[in-house]
Amino acid sequence: MAEILVLMEHRQGEMQDINLEMLAKGQQLAEQTKKELTAVLLGKGVASMADEIKRYCHHTLVMEDDLLANFNSEPYQDVLSFLLKERKPSLVLMGHTAFGMDLAPPLATATETPLATDCYEIEVKGDTIIPYRQMYAGKMCAEVHFKEAPCHMITVRAGSFPAEGLKEINGAVEQVSFQFDKDYAYKKFLQYVEAAVGDVDITQADVLVAVGRGIGDPENLPMVEELAKLLGGVVACSRPVSDKNWLPKERQVGTSGKTVKPKLYIALGISGAFQHIAGMKNAATIIAVNKDAKAPIFSVAHYGIVDDLLKVVPGIVAKVRERKGA
C-alpha cells in the first residue's frame, strides 16, 4: 500500500526515544512521498504506548502476545514478514539499535527487501528514497542507492532526526491478525542483566566524564560524578588524578591506562597531553573544558569551553538535572 511502516521499540515498559525521532522523520517522508504513516507496535501490555503513538500516525498496528513480551528477533521477524507481505509498504524504518541490528538484516534477507543500515539522513528525490550513512568511523559520509524494489528498509541512527514538529494525526489503532505456529524454543529470552555496580570498566561506557589536574581537589569530584550519572556515564581521569589516588587506576585514560571509544567524552581540566589523547581520540564526540585556550585537548575536541571547569560544570549539572526532572 501507499504507506511507510515504522517499527516502535520499547523495553521494560518504556518507549525508546528513537520512536518519536523516527515518527517525526516518518511524517516528513510520508508527506514528501504522499503516503501514510503506519507504526507497528509488538509486545505485551502495550495499550498505553499505542495510545501515545497513534497521535502521530495514520495507522497504529498492534499485536500483543506472550511471545512478543520481550524483544526476540525470531517472533518479531515472523510478524513483520507477514505485515510486509500483507500491507506492501514502500519503506520500513526501525532503529539502528540492539533491537534493529538483530532484526533488520534477517528480515530484509527473508523478504528480499533491500536494506541500508545506520543511516543519519534520508532524502527523497522524485520517487526515490536516498539514504545517507557514515563510513570509516564517521570520517566519510556516503550517499547510498538502493537496488530497485517495491519496498526498502532503513535502520536509523539514534539522534539523527529531531523529535520535533510532530503533527497530531490521531489515526486508528488496529490489531494485527497473525497467529504464531512456533514456540521459538531455539531462541529464548531469559532476563535482563543490569550493569554491575562497583566494577567500572570505562572501556564499555557510552559516556565518559574525565577529569584532569584542573579538578584541583578531590572534594570537587562529587559534582563530576553527578554529571556522569545524569548522562548515563562514568567518571574517568587522566594520569595525574589517578596518580594521586583521587580515582582508582582503572579509571585512567591514556597510553599507560585505557583506550576508550565512547559516544561522548567530556574532558574537564585535562590539558590533553599526547599520552592522554592517544587513549581517547576516537571518541565520537569530545567536549573539552579548560582554562587554557591553547591546551592541546582543543585540537582533538569537537566542542570547547575556555573557562574554569569549577565555574562551568555546576551550571551544566543543573540544566541536565532540570531536563531529567530529577
Binding site: T255, S256, T259, A278
Partner: protein
Amino acid sequence: MDFLEKHELYACLQCGKCTGGCPVSLRAPLNIRSLMREVLMGGSPEVALDCPGLWDCTTCATCTLRCPRGLKPSEVIVGLRGELVEQGNVPKTVIDALEGTFKHGNPWGKPRQKRTEWKGDTAVKVLPEEGEAEWLYFIGCAASYDPRLQRIPRILCRVLETAGVSFGILGTKESCCGNEIRRMGETGLFEELREENTKNFKASGAKAIITMSPHCFNTFSTEYELEGFKVLHYTQLLADLIKEGKITFSKEVNKKVVYHDPCFLGKQHEVFDPPREILKAIPGLELLEFDRSRERSLCCEGGGGRMWAEGSGEGERNSEIRVKDAHAMGAEIIATACPFCLLTLEDGAKTTGLEEQVLVREVLELVAEAMGFDDV
C-alpha cells in the same frame, strides 16, 4: 640452549646487589634476585611468569651493571617478558604499543604519513631521495609525534645547520628503533625493525648516525650491527662542536639548572660529561648536581616499556622524588637529554604541584635559548 643456561642462572650467588640497586624494588612487587632463584629452582621460566612486577622493570640495567658475577638480571626479565609475549599474555597497553609499532612504525600507533609533521617550516633533507649528507639524524618516535617534544628536533636541525654540519633524515621511512620493543619481550618485531632500519641506514649514504634519544643510541650502538657507522648521542656531537667553536652562545640563561643523567646515556654508556659540558658553556647558567648523579642517577621510570605499562607499584614515583629533590636544592630547571626522562619528570612536576617552580627542559631547549632561537 634452555632459559637457565642462556641466562647463566646457575652462576647467581644470590648476593642481592641487583635488588639492592633496583630503582623500583621499594615500590613494586619486583624482586629480581628472588626471581632468578625461583626460575633456577623451578627449572623453567614458566614458574615466574605470574610475577606481578614483571612489567615494572625499567631496564635501567643497574642490576646488570652491578652484578659481581657479570650476569644480566635485566635480561632475565626481558626473557621472561619474551615468554609472555609468545603466549600472547601481555598487558593491553603493551599489546597496543607492539601492534602500533608493527603496523605504523611507532608504539603510539600514529600514522606513518605524519612522522615528519614535527618539521613545520624546517628545511631538512630526506636521505637518500633528496641528496647526500655525512650525518643521519634519527629523530625517534617520541620526538616525531609528541607535541611536547616536536620542537626539539627542529632545534637540533637549526643547531646543526648553524654549525655547518652536513646531515639529513630518513623522513617517513624511519621506523621505531626497537629498543623498548625488545625490552618488552617482542624479539621478533625487534628483529624486523632492526632489519628495516639497517637497510635504510645503508641506503641513506650517510656514514654516521646521531640520535636524540639515548634509547635509540643504545640499541644502535649495542644491538644493531652497524659496522662502518659511527653512532653518537647528540650531546656528544654538540659538546665537540662547542669545543671546536662551531657553536657559540650569545644569550644568557640565568638559571640554576640541575642535570638528570638518563640511564640509557649515563650509567649504561658512561656519557656523563658531554651534556654537562654543554650546560656549563651556556653563559649565566649555574649547574647543580643531584646527590644521586652520574652512575647513581635515579631512574625516572620511563624506560623498559614503562611509557606503555602502568607499573603496579604504589607510593611516590621516582620522578616525584627527583622533582622534589631539585626543588629542595634550589634548582629552577631540571635539564635532561632523554625524551622519556623529560616526559616522566614533567609528569612528576605536575603531580607534586611544583610545575611552576621546577621546569623540566631538554638540554637542547636551553641551547636554543642561549643561541637566541626564539622562533623555533
